[in-house]
Amino acid sequence: MSALTVNNLRKSFGGLHVTRNVTFEVAPGERRLIIGPNGAGKTTLFNLITGELTPDSGSIALFGEDITRVPSCRRPHLGMARTYQIITLFPHDTILHNVSLALLGLTPMRWNPLINMRRQRHLQEQAHEALRRVGLADIAERPLAQTSYGERRRVEIAMALAQNPRLLLLDEPFAGLSIDERQDVRQLLMTIPRDVTIVMIEHNMDVALEFAERITLLHFGEVIVEGTRAEVVADPRTREVYLGH
């Protein structure tokens, strides 16, 4: 059974076909890289998988369960987590609060209007633990506004990991990072255990290629090439897509 099955997915905005008949499968534990030039429809594909966009046709299955009609806010409860290419965090709050919100999102406690959130020992401990995993435990109480860009990238990942996902979708986790910060994030991604399947969009080939086991190349919303790292790199169509213009 695949971790993620995307079958014949289509989406268009007006007359613009941004996703055309996209079909692929990701095996459990796999590290999949999705590449393609700007406008290839990579982020749209993520938004379709997470349900933020509704496909015109096609289906999506998570570990064999059809989730095409599942509302997007239910999907994290089924073990799907994502990060954003453009950082979307809670700017007025501390790092700890950001991660706490991620944890809270999956518990029924999120509906509770009566208890004091700061006094929920278990929640706070879990949040600290999630921050330890990404090396931010020391600055847990720091307001997000006072953190560096690299730290925010790690908060993004910490929030996704805190939800203990089975499938993790990373949208350009290296975007905008310095060389050193990139190494930090790379090492962080390496520590993620194999029971988490990862699908990653990335432009930065030197870090991403090393991480990926299989690669899917998208172009104008279509899957052009799919295969192992070596196969895709060697394929003439890859060269054509990237150098043809």
Binding site: C73, T88, F90, L101, L104, G105, N112, P113, R118, Q163
Partner: protein, 317 residues
């Protein structure tokens, strides 16, 4: 924290002893008005401040509860059923209001709430067989909770104070709760909240219901205070007044709407004693605050105070 507690204690003592040092029925009545308008503003602040959903029709929800009290009393019901009926009607109206307005957020939410508020105002104005039109509905007397007569200004003040304290406590608890944190999350990053597993619409809906409950409670206090309800209470100016309380004091803070209510009620009482141009002043204050101090008085003052205090001690943030 200790300074906080001292300030809280001082405020509590001042409020409880107010009728003794603030002599004169007029001033005690002004204090009562501040308190129930503060409850109203606290209610609006739940969605406008913590939820980022600016409602311009809240006076209609406030007015519906007041009308239901008036209507039921007029038709021979007792105070208990009038109050209960008003709360239920207020909540039911809020549910419909929220279901419609939450089709949109941001500017769309403002437009829909404004339209709904105007429609309910028009209904109050024209549906004469029920609302008595422009003449409004008069009440005769106040209820006697637990057999206590609250017809005097002082007694009504204490009844209002009790409700006010309960409302403040409820909001304080809510703001620290997971649901409160979730609401603020939907204000700042709705998309991310959805991706984290929160049902953004439902969170906003329940926030509206809480807001509607406080608004109804305030509407009931209002109608028992003035002993009169007319379409003017539902007008856009009334919605704007309460929004001004929230924004002037500081949206998204606990203290802000209370300070804002005090400010607006006092300015209005003082000004209307001299001239009739309250609406002009209301508009001017609105424009000035939005352009010059958009964060509101409470956060603005806190910021200035902190800066001064830290400057003196030479500590960095």
């Amino acid at each position: 924290m200790r300074r906080h507690q001292i300030a809280l204690l001082a405020a509590a003592v001042a409020l409880v002893t107010l009728p003794y040092w603030m002599s004169g029925v007029y001033y005690i009545n002004v204090a009562s008005q501040i308190l129930f308008f503060a409850v109203f503003a606290l209610g609006l602040n739940i969605i406008a401040g913590y939820g980022g959903l600016v409602s311009l029709g809240h006076a209609a929800l406030f007015g519906i509860s007041a009308y239901v009290v008036g209507y039921l009393l007029q038709h021979g019901f007792g105070h208990a059923s009038a109050i209960l009926g008003a709360l239920l009607a207020g909540l039911a109206a809020t549910a419909v209001y929220a279901a419609l307005a939450l089709r949109a957020t941001g500017i769309g939410f403002i437009m829909i709430t404004l339209a709904l508020g105007e429609i309910l105002w028009g209904l109050a104005y024209r549906w004469i067989s029920v609302t008595n039109g422009d003449n409004g509905i008069n009440l005769h007397g106040r209820p006697q909770p637990f057999g206590i007569d609250i017809n005097s200004a002082t007694a009504f003040y204490y009844a209002t104070l009790i409700v006010f304290v309960a409302a403040v406590a409820a909001v304080a608890v809510f703001v620290r709760s997971p649901l409160g944190a979730a609401l603020m999350g939907t204000r700042d990053q709705p998309r991310r909240m959805n991706a984290l597993g929160y049902h953004v619409w439902a969170i906003r809906f329940w926030a509206c219901m809480f807001s509607g409950l406080l608004t109804s409670v305030a509407g009931i206090l209002f109608v028992y205070y003035t002993q009169f309800i007319s379409p003017q209470t539902l007008a856009l100016t009334s919605s704007a007044e309460v929004l001004l309380m929230v924004i002037a004091g500081g949206a998204g803070t606990l203290l802000g709407p209370i300070v804002g209510a005090g400010l607006v009620v006092v300015v209005k009482s003082v000004v209307s004693g001299f001239i009739e141009r309250w609406n002009f002043l209301l508009g001017a204050i609105f424009v000035a605050i939005v352009i010059l101090m958009p964060e509101g008085l409470v956060p603005g003052t806190v910021r200035l105070w902190r800066r001064a205090w830290q400057g003196k001690n030479g500590t960095s943030p």
